[in-house]
Each structure stands twice: as C-alpha cells, then as structure tokens.
C-alpha cells in the first residue's frame, strides 16, 4: 500500500514535470533553442495566481486563468524582444541569452515580490480521498494534477495532429524554409509556440505550488531544470516523449527519496538520465534525424 502511495505521488510530481517539459520540447522542436527562462515563467505564473487569490480574493480557478493570460503574454514578449533578434545568430548566443533572461526574471521577481517565501494557498484546498479504509490517502491536488496533465496531453496531441495550425507547427519544426514556401508565417508560428508553452507553465506553477506551497523567486528554477531533463530523457522535440520523460522522472525521484536516500534522490535521477542517454542518445522516444537524399 505504501508502494502505491509513493507511485501516485511520483506520477503526480511527474505530471507537473511533464507539463513544464512540454514547453521546453515544443519550443525546442520549433525554434531549435533551449529556453532556460521557461522555469521562471512557472514562478511568475505562481506569483500572479498567489496575488490574485490571496490579495484580491479571486476564485482560485480564475486566478489560474489570469496567470495563464499573463504568462502567455510574457512568453510572447520574451520571444519577441530577446530571441527573435537572434534568429540567425549562433546557438550559443541564444543559449546565453536564455540563461540571462532566466536571471532577469528571477531578479525582477525579487524586486517586485521580495525574497520572503509566500505560502501558496492550494487551488482546491488540502482535502484528500481516503481509499481502502483510509490506508491509502490521495490528496485532491494530486488527482487534479494528474487529471490536468492527461487532459493537456490529449488536447495538445489533438491540436498538433489534427488542426491546421498544429500541422503548420510540425512543418516549421521540420523545415522552416520549406514551411515559408507553403505560405506559413514562421514568426507567428514560433510566437504561438511560446504562447502555448508559457500558458502551460502557468498551470504547472499553480499545481506545483499547490503541492509544495513555498513560493519564492527561485521556485521555478529547479523544477525547470528537472523538466528540461525530463524532456531530454523522453527525447527532446517529442511531445509524447516529454510526457513519458516527465512521469518517469517524477516516479524515479519519489522512489529514490523513499527507498534510497532523500539527499541522493537528484543524483539518482541524473544517473538514470545519463544511462538512458548512453543507451539511446536521442532519448526514449526521440528520433535520430536522418535525411534521405
């Protein structure tokens, strides 16, 4: 029973990683860049939600919606101002810019909201479902987190697979030049990708802080790095890969905490990543790109 408990917490934590990883992997797939500021967008989303709910008494779900709106705009503005001018620049320049943007967001948050941790109110309270005569307790937040992740995955897969815009995103991720020759507005498509990724980051922020309620300007940094790891683990650029990588990373982390050592859990996570990359360099579901001449 305790094993089941750990498994469920692992899947729940992994669901948050998966939602964040989607942002990394979609942006990588289309803009071919690692947006290291993505983790900090989560933090901004959590703060917006926090203030909307605690200070202005908004309904928590309205708070999440507002956070999504703010993060969507933030993601698009960051892309437009920091990354778009570097579209033709070497990838190292873009990478450094992304790291700089990450610090910029953290320090702006520090100025605006101070370094004092805030206690985030859970968006659906602290209740729990009791199963098996109370031997298994699953919190509402856990259920909401897992359900959100499943819904997001399903909607996003449908969007990418079936809609005109989703197909245009896939076309851009394969060959931007050819996509332009189809009449696809590549800049608008990249902007849309940042918008979706950042909107999802806001949801991840609210869920993360509902489960782990300490909110401060560095809150997004570590989950951001872990989610990036999850994206690489699953195969960067692959949406099912981000999902699988996120869930597995969460489960491995919780099991390592429970059965090995809570101090070593991150080391175990990264050791598993290294082993996976040694065996499958493109990640679990990643494709080694091969071109036919």
């Amino acid at each position: 029973m305790i094993f089941l408990n750990f498994l469920i917490s692992g899947i729940s934590l992994g669901s948050i990683y998966a939602i964040i990883a989607l942002g990394y992997t979609m942006v990588y797939g289309i803009a071919k860049m690692l947006n290291f500021a993505h983790g900090d967008v989560i933090m901004v989303g959590a703060y917006v939600c926090f203030y909307a709910v605690s200070r202005y008494g908004l309904n928590p779900f309205a708070g999440v919606a507002l956070a999504m709106l703010v993060c969507t705009v933030l993601g698009m503005v960051v892309e437009r101002l920091a990354y778009k001018p570097l579209r033709q620049a070497p990838s190292l320049a873009v990478l450094i810019t992304a790291i700089g943007m990450s610090y910029f967001l953290q320090n702006t948050a520090l100025l605006l909201w101070s370094s004092n941790p805030k206690v985030f109110p859970s968006i659906i309270g602290r209740g729990a479902f009791k199963l098996f005569d109370g031997r298994l307790s699953v919190s509402h937040v856990t259920v909401l987190t897992i359900a959100s992740c499943v819904v997001i995955m399903a909607v996003l897969s449908l969007f990418i697979g079936k809609t005109r815009l989703g197909k245009a995103m896939r076309a851009c991720s394969e060959d931007k030049g050819a996509a332009q020759l189809m009449g696809i507005n590549v800049n608008a498509t990249i902007s849309l990708t940042f918008a979706i990724g950042s909107g999802l980051a806001a949801i991840a922020g609210a869920l993360l802080c509902s489960a782990y309620p300490t909110l401060m300007p560095t809150t997004g940094a570590l989950p951001g790095i872990k989610a990036f790891t999850a994206a690489v683990f699953g195969g960067i650029g692959s949406i099912p890969g981000a999902f699988l990588g996120g869930i597995m990373l969460g489960v491995i982390e919780i099991f390592a905490k429970a059965y090995i050592s809570s101090q070593l859990s991150d080391a175990v996570v990264f050791a598993v990543l290294i082993i996976v990359l040694l065996v499958k360099p493109a990640g679990l579901l990643g494709r080694m790109t091969q071109e036919k001449v």
């Binding site: 896939r170 076309a171 394969e174 020759l181 494709r287 036919k292």
Partner: protein, 236 residues
C-alpha cells in the same frame, strides 16, 4: 505583348560579401515555360529564392502580376499565387503525404478537397501512398509530392528548382513529361535546371546563367542549336 506574370529587373543579390547575382533581368509571360540553365553556382537557386522573398535584392526589383514584391514577406508572396518547388524537394519527411499536400494548401480556404483530387489524379502514386510518411517515399515520389504540394496553392506561377536532381534517367523523363503536361493545361512555369538538354527541349524560352549573370537568351530551340550552349552545357 501583355504585362508579364513575372518581371525581374536588374537585381543584385549578396550573400554577405559575396556578390551572387550581378544585375540580371528577365520576364515570364502567361502560359510560358521559361528556363534558367547554367552550371552549379551560377546563381539559379539564388534567383528563385530572391523571387520567393527568402532573399532580398540590394538593388533592382521583382514584380509579380504587376506589383513590386519588395518588403512582401515570403508567406504573403505564396498567397499571391507564386509557388516554389525547392531544390532537394524538401518535403516534410515526418508528415504523411496527405498532410504535406494540406500544407501546400495552407493559404487556401475553400475547395481544398477538389484540389487534392486533382493532384491525386495527376500523381496516382501519391494517392496510393497518401497515409505514408513522406520520408518513406522514393526520390521520384518525393519530387512528385513536392510538385503536388506546390500545385495545392493554386499558383499563377510555378517555379521549379532542379526537379531532375538525383533522379534516375527514366524518372527524369517522367517528371519532365508531367511538367510539359502542366504547361499544356495552361500553367506558367519558371524552371531552373542543370539538365539543360531536357529543360530546353520543353521550354518556350531560356536564359543561360554564368556566375551571377545572364549570358545568352533565346527560344528553347535556338539555345539547343546554339554552338556556345552546346559546348558549355550539352557536352559538345
């Protein structure tokens, strides 16, 4: 003569400090197949990419259907009816054949199914393979897909960049038959080719390019017969 579909006037194009196109001018009139021939590096693809708006001329102008295209972004140029089949085909390898064709119709909003049926009629092979990913097609099939994809945008001018590249001779003939058929059905085509013999044999007019300049021009027949062209491009 009436207004040309495409009028390129004295364009100069640079890649950084390399002067790739040195003041070339040419026109394509409705219903023509015009070919640009020349060796590797003569600037043929650069010319097409400049017309498509992927590159910008430093001086000179490109006018399509009477409008100068300066500052028009590439995706808007496609919307106006100018389609390019890029060199090396560049189909979306991980998308299905049908999805590739749908991408070709990205600028279209109605009657897409009708156009799809037409393309499948023109290329029955594509219909057979409509649910396969494009990466699994052979080179010839990918060329057909790239052409079908461009036709889906209902182009008023179709530009083909090296459609014969890397194909077996029998496939080259097949592709050229299709180009000739398209022309017969009224399409206006600008064809860039290294295979001068094939290109000139179906072209209304041709321009010979050499290191960024147009050196000779004439009808397809004239150029095929010309001593200079024979020596340089047709192997004697």
């Amino acid at each position: 003569m009436s207004e040309p579909v495409l009028k390129v006037e004295n364009i100069n194009v640079y890649y950084g400090s390399i002067h790739a196109i040195k003041g070339i001018s040419f026109e394509v009139y409705e219903g023509e197949i015009v070919t640009l021939i020349g060796a590797n590096g003569a600037g043929k693809s650069t010319t097409l990419n400049t017309i498509s708006g992927l590159l910008h001329p430093s001086t000179g102008s490109v006018a399509f259907l009477g409008d100068v295209l300066a500052k028009v972004p590439p995706h808007k140029i496609v919307e106006r009816g100018l389609a390019q089949v890029p060199e090396g085909r560049r189909v979306f390898a991980q998308m299905t054949v049908q999805e590739n064709l749908e991408m070709g119709a990205y600028t279209q909003t109605n009657n897409i199914d009708e156009d799809l049926a037409k393309v499948y009629e023109l290329f029955p092979r594509l219909k057979e393979r409509h649910s396969q990913t494009a990466g699994t097609l052979s080179g010839g099939e990918q060329q057909m897909l790239a052409m079908g994809r461009a036709l889906m945008s209902r182009p008023k001018l179709l530009m083909l960049d090296e459609p014969s590249m890397g194909l077996a001779p029998i496939l080259v003939e097949q592709i050229f038959d299709i180009i000739a058929d398209l022309h017969k059905s009224g399409a206006t085509i600008l064809l860039v080719e290294q295979n001068a013999q094939m290109a000139l044999s179906i072209a209304s007019r041709g321009y010979v390019m050499e290191t960024g300049r147009i050196v000779t021009t004439g009808t397809g027949k004239e150029l095929l017969a010309s001593e200079e062209v024979r020596k340089a491009y047709l192997g004697g």
